[in-house]
Amino acid sequence: MRTGAAAGHTGYFHEAALYASDRELVDIAVPFLRDGVAAGEPVLVAFGEEHAALIRRATGGDPGITYLPGGDMYARPPGAIQAYRRMLADFVLGGAGQIRIIGELAPSAFGATWDWWARYESAINQAYDEFPLWSMCAYDTTSTPPDMLADVVRTHPRAARPDGGHTPHIDYVNPAEFLTESRRPPDDPLLLTAPVVSLIDPEPAEARQAVQAAVPPEFPQSDVDALVLSVSEAVTNASLYGRAPVRVRLWAGAKRLVLTVTDQGLGPKEPLAGMLPLGAGDGGGLGLWLCHQMCSHVGLYREDGAYTLRLTVGDPDTV
């Protein structure tokens, strides 16, 4: 049975918790959590240390609240989706009528990788919709840039307010629409330098060899592996589902490697491709998902009649 604002709702009740102070965050979070505990629901907090401590204090260390360790949970969007889906399935199997979660993205999400976290926020409207989940994603309106807040409003059907109210977001768009928009990641100064690899219509093996030969030795093998797999998947997908010519380029910076694969097609048809491990005959979805699982950032966008996949390993942010 659903309780609180989500009573009578089927599936995922997805809210943004937009706050301008610790006080506002507490005013939104505490009643939400306490009511869940009182109703005997699984109640979880997925905050960084500072906000987790704030909520612990404000709830008097209520033992009915579970604190999820941050870290890897929010390292990559598809990893977060996979971990949450598994956890939610377990709660439902255990008989939960509703699960409450309040969480926040890691500070690193609010930089060069925002676009894939925006896609995450949109994708979960569908990816969690089979669960009786009520979740709040907390965003600080004083520090989150306006363009990111605009994405938050477009990916959360409603907002939870500090006064206890719930406001529908009239600007909300469903994942099928949001995820098919072209979302070019921020310009990376590294891409203004000369690429170390530039290939037209390579076979996957040829692209792998070129990438392996060009990666500077200071990068760890795990980064090289991530690129080797990603370039293979991207080139294979481009040749199977895209349109020639397929252009592969690699840039090597001090802290990161950036690879782009551009073809003249439209990109994946399935809006959630990359965020969920789709099955066989998925139009390249599993390959794209593997890229998302191995790289530190994946951007995808359509521009001038071409589809580009931009894959980063290493540190996406430091210039």
Binding site: P204, V228, T236, P277, M294
Partner: protein, 273 residues
């Protein structure tokens, strides 16, 4: 560990024990057969040569062949005397070579070495399927016994896709024959080459033709450069479908990561030390 690789020309075939030799000119095959025979003769093996149709007399009149044939350690046979028209029973053909190997040993040779043109044995889909199964069974036998083979296929007769199906079941092949090889080592198998997406159908054909013992199948992966997730998925499907488990041993860390992400049940990975 068995020798495995891609041999560019006839000079290299001698060091290998089961070679799929795809040729364009009959002279290429004669050169390869000579080289293959020479290695065997030098190590005291009995040698059987099976020439392509129409080539029997040319082989016979080849100076080097003529000399070794006269010596008695080597024999030149017609394909029809060794192979039935289609290989209805792959096991029987392996049994034939197993008996010939035993006979060679009994006669004091160190083993048996066969260089045979098999072009006419893969003519239609049924024949191809039977012969591919035979190639694998023979490979398993060779991995454990002193039999070695050079299996020759004429490129202008055997379509590339058919050639790939038989080539992929040899430890050693000529270039542009098959992107990967699946062959016998010890009690298990080994992969070599690369398993890209466009090799998935070929991989499935190869898996369909192997008949490993029951229990966990150990596959040596040290010679495999890359596996696309589609190939890994085929392996998982084959294992699950045949009710067995597969251990990929000596794999690269990337393959372990891939298998972990795909959450496979029948396939597990051990990374090379």
């Amino acid at each position: 560990m068995r020798r495995s690789g891609v041999v560019a020309d006839a000079a290299e075939v001698g060091a290998h024990s089961h070679v799929c030799f795809a040729f364009r000119e009959p002279a290429e095959l004669r050169a390869a057969a000579r080289e293959f025979a020479r290695t065997g003769m030098a190590s005291g093996e009995r040698v059987l040569l099976i020439a392509p149709p129409g080539e029997y007399h040319r082989w016979r009149s080849d100076e080097w062949f003529a000399e070794v044939l006269a010596g008695g350690q080597a024999d030149l046979l017609q394909a029809e005397t060794v192979y039935p028209r289609t290989l209805a029973d792959p096991y029987a053909q392996v049994e034939y070579y197993s008996q010939e190997t035993e006979r060679a040993l009994a006669a004091g040779y160190t083993g048996l070495r066969v260089a045979a043109d098999a072009t006419t044995l893969v003519g239609d889909p049924v024949a191809l399927d039977g012969f591919a199964r035979y190639e694998h069974l023979a490979d398993v036998y060779m991995a454990a016994h002193p039999l070695s083979g050079l299996c020759a296929y004429a490129r202008d007769v055997v379509p590339d896709t058919d050639l790939a199906q038989v080539a992929s079941l040899h430890p050693t092949v000529t270039p542009q024959s098959s992107p990967f090889r699946l062959y016998a080592v010890g009690a298990g198998l080994a992969f070599a080459g690369e398993l890209d997406h466009d090799a998935v159908a070929l991989l499935e054909a190869a898996l369909d033709r192997i008949r490993p013992d029951d229990g966990e199948l150990v596959v040596d992966m040290t010679g495999l450069g890359f596996a696309h997730h589609g190939a890994v998925r085929s392996l998982e499907r084959w294992a699950a479908g045949s009710g067995r488990r597969v251990l990929l041993r000596g794999a690269r860390p990337l393959l372990r990561r891939l298998v972990e992400l795909m959450e496979l049940e029948a396939v597990r990975v051990e990374v090379a030390a």
